[in-house]
Subunit: 298 residues, 2 copies
């Protein structure tokens, strides 16, 4: 039987049994960083890139999980392996942990921890929608600016993104695109955004999570001779693009066919988008950037 | 024996047993609103004000806890009563709850919940420090602006505040004051800030939690004939104030005696600050705005 598996308190347990105390600032201050990694055909994609980012997130918040990089890789692989699924999403979390005593509010006194959980591979934008192409709303709610919370530190402080998502749903969108307070396109709840115009790819720069799939798309674009740049992007450019797509670990590439309910380009999933998506999945199937789960087990 | 008590999954349990699943967006998206209420001498302070604010927080995030106002009041009182403490802080949380299935990311499918927890009355700024007077650092990390997350919705998205706190500690401060990206004083991690200059009180307006203790101070100031206004406040005004103090449910009023390590006013806890603090506690002792815990039990 296959089932989601978590690693918590030094044990591997069915994920639904994994719980954290409501008094920990991990929860009450959302004082936790994370990363989400995927495996397909029992190959973990770009493990080192994810571990680099996770370590950077931990360092930026002065969180020191009690395992080294090699041990964390083994925990990730063991979670994935124990699920019984060949295709998984694995989330690792560096937690602030419990305060020294119940009335303390000093994060420096906390015992930092590590939690991991592996589940069947899932899609931030549901697969059926991603295949037909999605309608994204450019919402009024703004993305938190980097000077408040650096989005490169992958974290659970999602209230701006959740508010954006609820606003998008209210407007009939499948998901949201948030802009920074100064009006530049940032990202959506769980994905980066790309546009294609006259055969060139563009993705926003700054004030966003620097996605591993985003990084991958630069490599894929280069491979097929497409020009791709990270730069400031304004909502109008997105509305006037020939194509647009989202990129994320959980779901890879999804074509955008409408912005704010208005057709984008010719209103069908873009040809470049499709080409990049096929290339992405074909290369993964061939083992590109893949680390076998089995090779990491102890 | 006295011990912290939580209400979770329709049961009252010792607080250390209360846990939430790591897969709930309540945790993974910090998709939860809350309020913290205090009781002293078994009298709950300004219960209706806290319930009003909590209801507003829930509404703003489209979270509908499965209890009505009267039932929530009873849950709060029952938690406080069961602890055995006469002086408590009680936190209520409106939770997004679990997704409909493990791979869904749609918050609209979640079953919203309510958690409450009562613990001994505590001090956001430790009592010993509050009595001597605290050194606050005006930190570089900015407060999240209202257009991203409305701070009036009391929430656990504390990463900006935690980053500010860690930065303050690094600079030798006891706690932090954060400014908005446009440079105005906002609030600290868990408290509002006030200054006194030439006998007038000022507190920042906008982009901050509208504290119940902050509201109370307006009433106390009026009672003793002090002029008190909410208005834009800039860091320089705070540095040049005669007195400053923090206000919060968990700890009430704490005198600020240094800003960025430099003495404020005459470097001792201010006289107006002390007068307001004494008045606050004397009036609470007299039952002002107090609802007996016992009156709410069923």
């Amino acid at each position: 039987m296959s089932e989601p598996i978590a690693f918590i308190n030094e044990e591997f347990v069915p994920a639904h049994e994994a719980k954290i105390p409501i008094l920990e600032p991990t929860f009450t201050k959302s004082d936790v960083v994370y990363d989400t990694i995927s495996s397909t055909d029992n190959l973990i994609f770009r493990l080192d890139d994810h571990l680099d980012r996770f370590e950077n997130s931990c360092d930026s918040m002065q969180i020191n999980p009690p395992y080294n990089r090699k041990e964390i890789a083994t925990i990730i692989a063991t979670c994935a392996d124990k699920t019984g699924y060949e295709d998984t999403c694995i989330t690792i979390m560096g937690t602030r942990g419990p305060y020294k005593d119940i009335t303390s509010r000093d994060p420096r006194t906390c015992q930092n921890g590590l939690i991991a959980v592996a589940m069947p591979y899932y899609y931030v934008i549901p697969k059926e929608k991603a295949q037909k192409g999605v309608n994204l709303s450019i919402v009024d709610n703004k993305r938190v600016p980097s000077e408040s919370v650096d989005a490169r530190i992958k974290n659970f402080n999602w209230m701006d993104l959740t508010r954006g998502l609820l606003e998008a749903y209210d407007k009939g969108g499948d998901s949201a695109i948030l802009c920074t307070p100064d009006g530049k396109v940032s990202e959506g709840p769980g994905f980066n955004i790309w546009l294609a115009k006259d055969g060139h790819l563009k993705t926003p720069k700054g004030n966003l999570l620097e996605g591993i799939t985003r990084k991958t798309i630069f490599e894929l674009a280069s491979e097929i001779g497409l020009n791709a740049t990270e730069t400031e992007v304004y909502p109008e450019e997105l509305r006037e693009a020939d194509e647009a797509f989202t990129s994320t670990t959980a779901g890879a590439i999804a074509a955008v066919v409408e912005i704010d309910g208005k057709p984008l380009g010719n209103g069908a999933p873009g040809l470049l988008t499709g080409r990049l998506n096929d290339l992405y999945w074909n290369k993964r199937k061939d083992g590109w950037h893949g680390t076998p789960v089995k090779s990491l087990l102890t």
